[in-house]
Amino acid sequence: MSLLSRQDVQRIAELARLELTSEELDLFTRQLGDILTYVEQIRALDTTGVEPTSQVLNRPVDRDDAPGATLTRAQLLGNAPDAAPEAGLFKVPRVIG
């Protein structure tokens, strides 16, 4: 039995903000199922009491909250597909109806 249904894949796509085509949904349902079957092997390992590794530095990676030089607003807006540089804003479709 596959570990994922087509509906599961549809739900994941919504969470991931991906509008998948019907063909993509079919393909990913099969392939993600294969990948999950493959990774099942680690679930049998005993990891009781084992600390998780989220990063290998063994030290905090926070920095001081000190203001410094940054890119300018014009530089940051320069790559936008749609911007209002005079207002210093990115433009997007209407959010509030």
Binding site: L4, D8, V9, I12, A13, L15, A16, R17, L18, E19, L20, T21, E24, L27, F28, Q31, L32, D34, I35, L36, Y38, V39, Q41, I42, R43, L45, T47, V50, E51, P52, T53, S54, Q55, V56, L57, V61, D62, R63, L71, Q75, L76, G78, N79, A80, P81, D82, F90, V92, P93, R94, V95
Partner: protein
């Protein structure tokens, strides 16, 4: 630094023995070679000829500014270059021109290097063949019907074909070492945190590394010396002092203990790979190194852990590509909401493998599955680290083949993600542990397809790692073999 450079062959293919060529001559030769081989290889996304020549003229007019003065280099196209498009070989970054330059690139240029172009990759570094590129696949210079490996396949092909002596790549699960192995060159993934990732387009932040691809270990050492060291702009950058690599490359491996995880070298490994690996160990033994059997009981679980962790991190890192601030945006239709714009932009902009990984990552982080997949993978990651900690109590470096097989055919593994993932069986451990790791040419399969030897060292001990790798190159000539591509195909149209 300047001393170190004297012993190197940085200008191979771009310079004569008597008298070093000027920077302009070096760049011109590099660009000529690029023009000659690029139609066959498709290694470059962007060629920066004019910028490179301008810079070369300026360098020729100045006193030497660093150990790479006038050396042409190439950059994987996921490293930001101010004013030059940076695509990650993804449609979603079409039109993106970074307003800033990656630290590693700044440091290369400050040392005198001249960037001649940006190289192809699997989109965002997600792949092992450089076939997952919105700009088309790169080919292996040793056999144009095969992949160069990936994801830094463009950088590997460019160095192997002697277009540039140094290229930068990035390595999240083997993406420097695996293509280096399959293209017959050197690829170094330094310790996690050694090379600043400021300006690297993020894929999986706890696993991403930047490093050099070269033809010799000595050149890799120079490039690493230039790009390594603390950078306040990367919060994961390490302040650990850089090793003196000039002093390290002595050729002396007498008494060095090399660990071999025998149980890990079983199923699915090509006979030619095992044969070349055994011969490579003999080269070390002849120099006085001791070969020691070790056990890495969890290393075989590296691939599943890796794919759970890297996809989780990727799903988060790639959330930023939403069509608002840079890159591709879908053509808006009447009554489109913001959410429609996000969803269609991302579906149009990302390729299949990137979507697959975003989906898997989203799933393993979602409510109800986090503990079973993501947390579990992080725990097994700890077990893999412990395996290596234990191994390094009795050995100084760990040796394995770089890949289980020689370069595979274009298209051979694209339809089966799990088969493609298995290419990384020997390389992912060094990303999960952060340990420094290098691939060096160690032989050829039949017909002439290069094979790599992977050495992995202790955290921050690149000195021992590079000393061992350099010693190997003193006794072998695999790294001096270049693909015959140019000679065979010069002036002739490409078959196939």
């Amino acid at each position: 630094m300047t001393q170190l450079r004297k012993g190197t062959r940085l200008r191979h293919g771009v310079g004569g023995q008597a008298g070093e060529p000027g920077a302009v001559a070096a760049v011109e030769q590099s660009l000529a070679r690029l023009t000659q081989v690029e139609p066959q290889l498709s290694a470059f996304n962007t060629v920066m000829a004019e910028r490179a020549l301008d810079r070369a003229r300026a360098l020729d007019a100045s006193a030497p500014i660093g150990p790479l003065h006038g050396v042409p280099v190439a950059l994987k196209d996921n490293l930001c270059t101010a004013g030059v498009p940076t695509t990650a070989s993804s449609k979603i970054l079409s039109g993106f021109v970074p307003p800033y330059t990656a630290t590693a690139v700044e440091r290369l240029e400050a040392a005198g290097a001249i960037v001649i172009g940006k190289t192809n990759l699997d989109e965002f570094g997600m792949g092992s063949s450089t076939e997952n590129s919105a700009l088309g696949a790169t080919r292996n210079p040793w056999d144009l019907t095969r992949t160069p490996g990936g994801s830094s396949g463009g950088s590997a092909a460019a160095v192997a074909a002697r277009v540039v002596p140094i290229a930068l790549g990035s390595d999240t699960g083997g993406s420097i070492r695996q293509p280096a192995g399959l293209c017959g060159i050197v690829g170094l993934k330094p310790t996690y945190g050694r090379v600043s990732r400021y300006g690297l387009l993020a894929f999986a932040s706890s696993l991403d590394h930047i490093g050099p691809l070269t033809t010799t270990v000595a050149d890799a050492a120079v490039a690493f010396s230039v790009i390594g060291g603390f950078d306040p702009r990367d919060s994961t950058s390490s302040s650990e002092p850089m090793p003196d690599l000039h002093a390290a490359l002595t050729g002396d491996v007498n008494g060095l203990r090399i660990g071999v995880p025998r149980a890990f070298l079983g199923e699915g490994v090509d006979a030619s790979v095992l044969e070349a690996f055994a011969s490579a160990l003999n080269v070390f033994a002849a120099r006085g190194a001791r070969i020691v059997d070790i056990d890495l009981p969890h290393a075989g679980h590296g691939i599943p852990i890796y794919y759970l962790i890297c996809t989780a991190e990727a799903s988060s890192n790639l959330a930023r590509y939403d069509g608002v601030r840079y890159g591709h945006r879908t053509r808006l239709q009447k009554d489109d909401t913001l959410q429609h714009m996000y969803e269609r932009t991302r579906d149009e902009g990302f390729g299949a493998e990137v979507k697959r990984r975003i989906m898997l990552g989203t799933y393993v982080l979602s409510a109800g599955y986090y503990d079973a997949y993501y947390l579990k993978a992080q725990q097994v990651r700890t077990l893999v680290r412990r395996d290596y900690d234990r191994a390094f109590e009795t050995v100084d470096v760990v040796a394995t083949p770089t890949t289980p097989t020689p370069a595979f055919k274009l298209g051979e593994k694209t339809s089966d993600p799990v088969q493609m993932y298995l290419n990384d069986i020997f390389t992912v451990s060094a990303n999960l542990t952060g340990l420094p790791s290098i691939s060096i040419p160690c032989g050829f399969a039949s017909p002439a397809l290069p094979l790599g030897l992977q050495l992995t060292g202790r955290l921050f001990d690149e000195a021992t790692l590079l000393r061992a790798a350099d010693a190997f190159q003193r006794d072998t000539t695999f790294h001096t073999n270049a693909p015959s591509l140019a000679e065979a195909t010069e002036g002739k149209p490409l078959d196939a």
